[in-house]
């Protein structure tokens, strides 16, 4: 019996997140009831994942585990669920962030609580679905499903300019969806595999004519870097973040961006290793431009949320750089970076949200000396800022140093020497290290402007963090410290899968 549950735990968590909105719709329209019920569902999902990881899931196997394969539309489109280390790491991140977000939703969801929590759970379904779907068509469906709850979450509970932001988000994501849909169809028809099964397709992708391969690679890639986001498709993110309510921002930065990163790993690397090896250098360059460019953008913002949003763009650049390096360290670092950024950015958005909720302004110049009124907030903000600027012993450092090392030592980049003795990849790393300095600059500058110096007496009536807020932040920060001090606890989970992906690629490049 127990074993049956374990075997089907992926579909169980999906079903739980689908059932949740239905249950919520029968509840009375009271915020605290809806919140508690949603919290129960989210904890159920979290418990399921944890049990799965600690019992059935064997991290040392690179292959898919807990596979469930059902007929859906004939034999071509199937419901195939499964997870390897990469998926389970992302699912775990979602499962951790969900209860945290629900606790943080208390003040936002006062208005239309039922709809809000239903949308949140619908979003969960789609995100979890993306990470566990092993059928390309199912993957696409879950990917597109995310659009609907997200649009409403921004457009109904958002800030003053929410219509514009939600529409911009919708258009961008819709474009991404079209790209992916086209790519999926190209894959299906050109490969001749007669199935959408991702495992099968990844083997058949070599049979596709070269031009089709390049076309579908780029369609997928554009779709994923819109989501990641990366220059030049990143401008939806600051707008969406600024207008989105705090918990939605937490989820958006915490997990939705990782869908892009996950897609790159799963599809761009898994399906098209040759094309990746061909354009890897450009991707690395894109990563470096993101890291430094977004950090520069952060330095000139006057809106707190925009800083954190651009900071996400900057940190996701590491994922691109890591993937493009085609090394074990780079791959591993990219995954670690996604996970750790999920925790750190959620904490930062939470902190900015707590300030906004109390003051209703996001302009940095309106603040000053907030430590006096909100000392707890200051401590958490300091810790989160330090994590964001990759202080060693906090999780941000592990990912970034792995990526730097991977890109610097990459054999693949060594094929692109320059006259300056460093190869192109190394020059990207040297350039990106500028981002490390700039990150320290903008985070500490933000911290200084908001929390230090003479206090602004306008805010003397403010209350410090509530117990629920402290709880949320403590959980996030405890994980940040855990993974920073003992990175094996996370990297053990995904390392074999990351290595398996790498093996696909290294077969391609001549050593």
């Amino acid at each position: 019996m127990f074993n049956f549950f374990l075997q089907h735990s992926l579909s169980i968590i999906l079903i739980a997140s689908i059932v949740a909105p239905v249950v919520i719709s029968f509840l009375p329209s009271k915020e605290h009831i809806c919140r508690k019920v949603t919290l129960i569902f989210s904890l159920f999902i979290l418990a399921n994942i944890l049990i799965l990881i600690f019992t059935k899931f064997d991290p040392s196997l690179p292959a898919l585990q807990c596979v469930e394969n059902y007929r859906w539309f004939g034999d071509t489109i199937r419901i195939k669920l499964g997870c390897d280390g990469l998926s389970i790491a992302m699912v775990l991140l979602m499962a951790i962030l969900l209860p945290v977000t629900i606790i943080a939703s208390e003040s936002i969801a006062k208005e239309k609580p039922k709809l809000y929590y239903s949308m949140l759970m619908l979003l969960t379904t789609s995100v979890l679905g993306v990470f566990v779907a092993q059928d390309l068509f199912l993957f696409f469906l879950f990917w597109e499903l995310e659009l609907i709850p997200m649009y409403f979450l921004i457009a109904i509970w958002g800030g003053p300019n929410r219509e514009y932001a939600a529409m911009k988000f919708l258009i961008y994501t819709f474009t991404a969806g079209i790209c992916m849909f086209a790519a999926v169809l190209v894959m299906f028809f050109a490969s001749g595999a007669g199935t959408f099964d991702m495992e099968v397709l990844s083997k058949f992708s070599k049979n596709i004519p070269y031009t089709f391969q390049v076309a579908s690679f780029f369609l997928f890639f554009v779709c994923f870097i819109i989501k990641l986001p990366s220059f030049p498709f990143h401008t939806w993110l600051p707008d969406a973040h600024v207008e989105a309510p705090t918990p939605v921002s937490m989820l958006l930065a915490g997990i939705l961006l990782k869908m892009g990163g996950y897609g790159i790993y799963r599809i761009c690397v898994g399906f098209f290793p040759d094309i990746l090896a061909e354009f890897g250098l450009w991707i690395a360059l894109l990563g470096a431009v993101n890291i430094v460019g977004a950090a520069i953008a952060c330095l000139v913002q006057d809106d707190m949320k925009r800083i954190i949003a651009y900071s996400s763009v900057s940190h996701m650049g590491f994922v691109l750089l890591g993937v493009a390096s085609l090394t074990a360290a780079g791959f591993s670092g990219g995954i670690f970076q996604m996970f750790s950024h999920g925790l750190i950015s959620a904490a930062l958005f939470m902190l900015v949200g707590t300030l906004y909720e109390r003051t209703h302004t996001r302009l940095i110049s309106d603040y000053g000396g907030m430590t006096k009124y909100m000392p707890k907030c200051f401590y958490f903000f300091t810790l989160a800022s330090m994590a964001n600027l990759a202080l060693p012993a906090l999780s941000g450092f592990v990912g970034e140093s792995l990526v730097f090392y991977g890109a610097f030592s990459s054999k693949y980049f060594a094929e692109f020497p320059t006259r300056l003795y460093f190869n192109y990849g190394q020059i990207c790393v040297l350039f990106s290290s500028l981002g490390v300095i700039l990150t320290a600059g903008y985070m500490l500058w933000l911290l200084q402007k908001v929390f230090m110096g003479p206090e602004n007496t306008r805010w003397s009536k403010l209350n410090d963090l509530r117990l629920s807020e402290v709880a949320v932040l403590s959980i996030l920060m405890a994980l940040v410290i855990l993974y920073g001090v003992y990175p094996f606890s996370l990297s053990n989970l995904y390392e074999p899968s990351s290595k398996a992906l790498l093996d696909i690629v290294t077969k391609i490049i001549p050593s």
Binding site: T235, A297, V398, L444, P454
Partner: protein, 648 residues
């Protein structure tokens, strides 16, 4: 017994960490308990590290290294662990003892402060990070703790966050250090990348294997000594870390501002331990520098220039802590210069003696500041000798020690450095001796302005409490005597160099009074002594006898005076570049790229084109998300149906 004590030395670092955690989470409401925990933990560390020093001393050549894996990805592995060797044992004692006395002092200095417990928690955290840095087995672990001491320094400089100056200072300190750290990280990457094969079965970047790694890579032709990717470049990138941390020109700008933090912090972090970590790291990575003459030369000259440059600024400062800060900068310059000259033992010897007397000098300044009701301007002091006999006496000892009064600790270490400068590099000898003259002048200026003459301020100065004066007296003892272990006066001669040295060295030195006299009567002995005498005499003339040299320079050579008083305008130049060039350029860049090109042309532009071209589509494009969602789902459904008909 000795083994188990050595193998447990990780406890020296772990106990302060535990005490920090306990204070933060459980005992922050009890002042007594937090002080007790913090002081107790470092007292334990002091006893343990003294034992470690003793056992390392009686078993020469015995080193202990324990490593644990920290992360691995493919062939890339990183380790953390602890390494006990003479250098580490010496540093442990220095850090623990200074930290101990500073923490006792803190009780007196901070007892009125509402955040008293928090201060102790940070102190414990700092002690942990610093000890972790000292115990590191490899460069990578050093980097971890290197950043952690940086963040502790950040927290403690910004301890009084409500002061605008403190808020600026802590950000500045961290960002400047980050520049150095980025260089250090690149250096590490380049080094590891070039010697990858060598580390495959060893602890990555271990200090104990550094020399072999370099020999291996040079002999097998992977890494040239000079070139773009070479030992020299790596050494210079790695040097950027120590340059920032040890406040070497041109990255020195953060240290004087860091004096905005509470005085115990200035004594512990910004005089005795953390700023010396840069020197320590150069010593640890010494094989890298030794194999590249260019890198050695760079180190020596950066040190020498910093020593002179900071000393010239210290001449005209009126803030007592800033004057001491520039003096720290200058002394660190001496240490770096010594290492660059190949005088490994001399540089570390000066690190040790300086830690004691400079910590004491800062604590003295703190005592004065408390007595004068938080006045830091020396023009508002004077005549404090009458009111504060203990502070003035210990301060005099410190001043004598730093200026090189014969037989006091600073005398021995500075002489050692200048002697090796005489041997290897005459210009640096002249530079160093001139700096010694300036040092004697500005230190006695500080002493005379503060303690002699008439009191010029408006407070009612009084001797401070025992918890402040006792650490002063305790630190005065090593300030006077610690230098003797490196002197030829004790039986067996220079014990310090026989204990801590790089490469082969003769374990027995000449010793006796005759040797001392002989060494003193040479050029390299007489010149520094002369510098001390002249500097002191001039300070006495100017600040005791009213010989108006200072006002003369101020009036008639105002250019020179202003240059010194305004710190060579380095801060102005940097902030000008940052605020007038870099930030506006960034703003323009962001506006053009994000707002105009991407958002303006790409996004809104394409939307406009669409709306012009497809005016007729307005019926469908209502801007309602629901409709769009409907369209998407409709298309998806349609495509599914389409495929179903196709694949039966």
């Amino acid at each position: 017994m000795s083994d188990s004590i050595l193998y447990c030395s990780w406890l020296i670092a772990a106990v302060p960490l535990i005490s920090a955690i306990l204070i933060i989470f459980f005992f922050h409401s009890s002042k007594k308990l937090s002080a007790f925990l913090s002081i107790g933990s470092v007292a334990y560390g002091l006893i343990h590290s003294l034992l470690v020093l003793y056992f390392t001393y009686i078993n020469p050549g015995k080193t202990i290294e324990v490593n644990f894996p920290w992360i691995s990805a493919g062939a890339f592995k990183l380790f953390v662990g602890y390494l006990i060797d003479p250098l580490c044992a010496m540093m442990l004692v220095v850090v623990c003892s200074v930290s101990f006395f500073v923490q006792v002092y803190t009780h007196g200095y901070m007892k009125e402060d509402p955040s008293y417990s928090k201060f102790y928690a940070y102190l414990s955290l700092f002690t942990f990070s610093m000890l972790g840095l000292v115990l590191s087995t490899n460069l990578f672990q050093s980097y971890i703790f290197w950043e952690l001491v940086g963040v502790c320094s950040y927290l403690l400089i910004g301890f009084w966050w409500y002061k605008k100056t403190a808020a600026n200072a802590c950000t500045k300190a961290f960002v400047v250090n980050r520049i150095g750290d980025a260089g250090l990280l690149i250096g590490l990457l380049m080094f590891y990348f070039s010697t990858q094969k060598f580390w495959s079965d060893k602890t990555t970047l271990a200090f104990s294997e550094l020399k072999n790694a370099i020999d291996y890579s040079v002999h097998s032709g992977i890494l040239p000594v000079v070139g773009v990717i070479s030992i020299t470049t790596i050494a210079i990138f790695v040097l950027m870390g120590p340059m920032a941390k040890s406040a070497q020109f041109p990255l020195h700008i953060w240290l004087p501002d860091a004096m905005e933090g509470p005085t115990p912090i200035s004594a512990l972090i910004h005089a005795a331990t953390m700023v010396a970590a840069g020197v320590y790291l150069i010593a640890r990575t010494y094989p890298l520098y030794v194999s590249s003459p260019v890198a050695m030369g760079t180190v020596a000259w950066i040190g020498g220039i910093t020593a002179l440059f900071a000393a010239t600024i210290a001449l005209s400062q009126f803030d007592i802590k800033r004057a001491l800060a520039y003096s720290t900068c200058s002394q660190l310059g001496y240490m770096v210069m010594a290492l660059g000259l190949g005088a490994y033992s001399a540089g570390l010897f000066h690190l040790m003696t300086h830690a004691f007397f400079k910590a004491m000098l800062f604590l003295c300044s703190g005592s004065v500041i408390v007595a004068c009701h938080h006045e830091q301007d020396m023009r508002e002091m004077g005549g404090l000798k009458k009111h504060m006999p203990i502070t003035s006496l210990t301060c005099l000892i410190g001043v004598l020690a730093i200026s090189g009064f014969p037989l006091m600790s600073g005398f021995w270490s500075k002489d050692m450095i200048l002697a090796s400068a005489w041997e290897h590099n005459k210009p640096l000898f002249i530079l160093g001796s001139f700096t010694a003259l300036l040092t004697a002048f500005y230190m006695f200026r500080l002493y005379f302005m503060t303690f002699s003459g008439k009191y010029r301020g408006h407070a009612h100065p009084h001797e401070t409490t025992p918890s402040i004066t006792i650490p002063l007296v305790c630190l005065a003892v090593p300030s006077v005597f610690i230098g003797l272990i490196g002197s030829p006066l004790i039986p067996g001669g220079d014990k310090f160099s026989s204990f801590i040295h790089f490469g082969e060295t003769h374990l027995h030195h000449e010793w006796g009074m005759n040797v001392f006299i002989h060494e003193l009567m040479s050029v390299q002995g007489l010149v520094p002594l002369g510098a001390f005498v002249i500097g002191t005499f001039m300070a006495w003339l100017v600040y005791r006898k009213g010989f108006a040299l200072n006002t003369y320079i101020q009036k008639n050579l105002s250019f020179v005076y202003n240059l010194s008083f305004n710190k060579w305008y380095i801060d102005e130049i940097y902030s000008g570049i940052l605020n007038k060039v870099i930030l506006p350029a960034y703003r323009v860049l962001w506006n053009v790229i994000d707002k105009v090109i991407v958002d303006g042309v790409f996004v809104n532009g394409s939307a406009r084109v669409v709306s012009i071209v497809g005016g007729g589509l307005r019926l469908i494009e209502t801007g309602r998300g629901q409709l769009y969602a409907l369209v998407i789902f409709g298309s998806v459904l349609f495509s599914i149906m389409f495929m179903l008909t196709k694949f039966k």
